[in-house]
Symmetry: C2
Subunit: 249 residues, 2 copies
């Protein structure tokens, strides 16, 4: 079954099960979750920093970001999300949103009550571990972004972000790692990279001139994966493709 035909819970489950299969009972408990489904237009806030939380959210289709604002208007995007991502698992336990969740493309989002997720994690420990693992990988990605923001040059930083999105798009079967949808404007990319839009434009231009990337509309192409990986020191260890530790009996 192609990902395009899956509904939201199935898409999220597919991501979770890529890391190790669940028992039939856990699987059907997850798929049996009561949930809502909402569609959002591009550039629309779904949750705002400071909002009390109620529901967890999974991204069925589209592109989202999580971002934080400064009083002076500065904005930092902390993560970018693609179909299948558990974009707001934190609301299961955190009572207030510490960041804003916003669409980039038109997106479809699944909502599940936070307390229900907690109950599910308790009743099916394998699901609880899968949620925890997802949070841990999330945190690992944030650490890598800190390295990106703090210690990589604008060009390397830009390249690294593109490679991560390629790698994740490939894992999620949304695109190939060297040719994947990337519907993010240079203005938003700037907020993800801690740069100005002007400088993002110049960094992309340079990467293009070097033959390291090609851009077609809302799509990113990496002609030579290893060359770009070498340029920006992309090592996917931090995405933990090995999956979680299995619990011995």
């Amino acid at each position: 079954m192609s990902i395009a035909t899956l509904d939201g819970l199935e898409t999220a489950l597919a991501k979770l099960e890529r890391r190790g299969p669940f028992s039939n009972s856990a699987r059907s408990a997850f798929l049996g979750l009561q949930h809502g489904r909402r569609s959002y237009p591009p550039q629309r806030d779904i949750v705002r920093e400071g909002d009390p939380t109620k529901s967890c959210r999974f991204l069925q289709s589209g592109t989202l970001s999580r971002s934080k604002l400064l009083p002076n208007g500065g904005r930092q995007i902390a993560s970018l999300h693609i179909a299948g991502d558990l974009v707001d698992l934190s609301s299961a336990l955190l009572l207030f949103a510490d960041h804003t969740l916003r669409t980039h493309e038109a997106s479809v989002v699944i909502e599940v009550d936070g307390a229900t997720i907690l109950r599910l994690a308790q009743d099916y420990p394998e699901l609880g571990r899968a949620f925890w693992f997802d949070t841990l990988v999330d945190a690992s990605i944030f650490r890598e972004w800190s390295l990106n923001l703090g210690r990589r040059s604008a060009r390397e930083r830009t390249a690294h972000l593109l490679m991560e999105m390629g790698y994740r798009s490939d894992e999620a079967e949304i695109g190939g790692r060297c040719d994947f949808p990337f519907p993010v404007t240079q203005l938003d990319l700037a907020d993800a990279l801690g740069l100005t839009p002007v400088h993002v434009n110049r960094s992309l231009k340079w990467l293009r001139e070097q033959g390291l990337i090609r851009t077609s509309k809302r799509r990113m192409i990496i002609p030579d994966w290893d060359m770009l990986a070498d340029f920006c020191a992309f090592r996917p260890l931090y995405l933990h493709p090995e999956g979680p530790r299995a619990l011995p009996n």
Copy 2:
């Protein structure tokens, strides 16, 4: 009982229970964990990026950081840790360390087998939620650091980090939020802030000249909390002092 007299597990438990008390059985299961205790001198690696994981670690006393390296020698500190912090809970589920764990001061670290932690989380769901919550707060701190690195000036960034450490030291009863131990060299501070040591020095000098901070040896003093908070837009929401959602019955 003062924190100084607590052993490592008690210190970690105290941090977890600040967010909501556990049942007696969960508490004694946690305190009954088989564990090792190791002392490390300053500037010593405890775990290195890429190492296979086995044990989870809690910091009984001292100061640690989690950092990542670039092939060109660049280093980014992703987090700083003080007594009571669950500095390596991720090893319960992640099979490889994606970052290096290193002491700043001489430190005492408790080690608990990763699979044992998983088992404990399963047998006592309230502990499982506490671990997950801790990971979520961790991730929230990383997001704030991204904002710091990407969108705050050197001076604001420096001030913000100091305020966070003051706030957390206060919570952990290691110091007051306006007067707390801070045994981090400017060289290490530079790696946490994505700056050069020279510029860190100048930023600290400026903050001192403005009367926003005072430094005494291995100690940081914030004469006027609100003034500094205003300067760097420090809002502790992201540390989630409200604690986790309670699971309804």
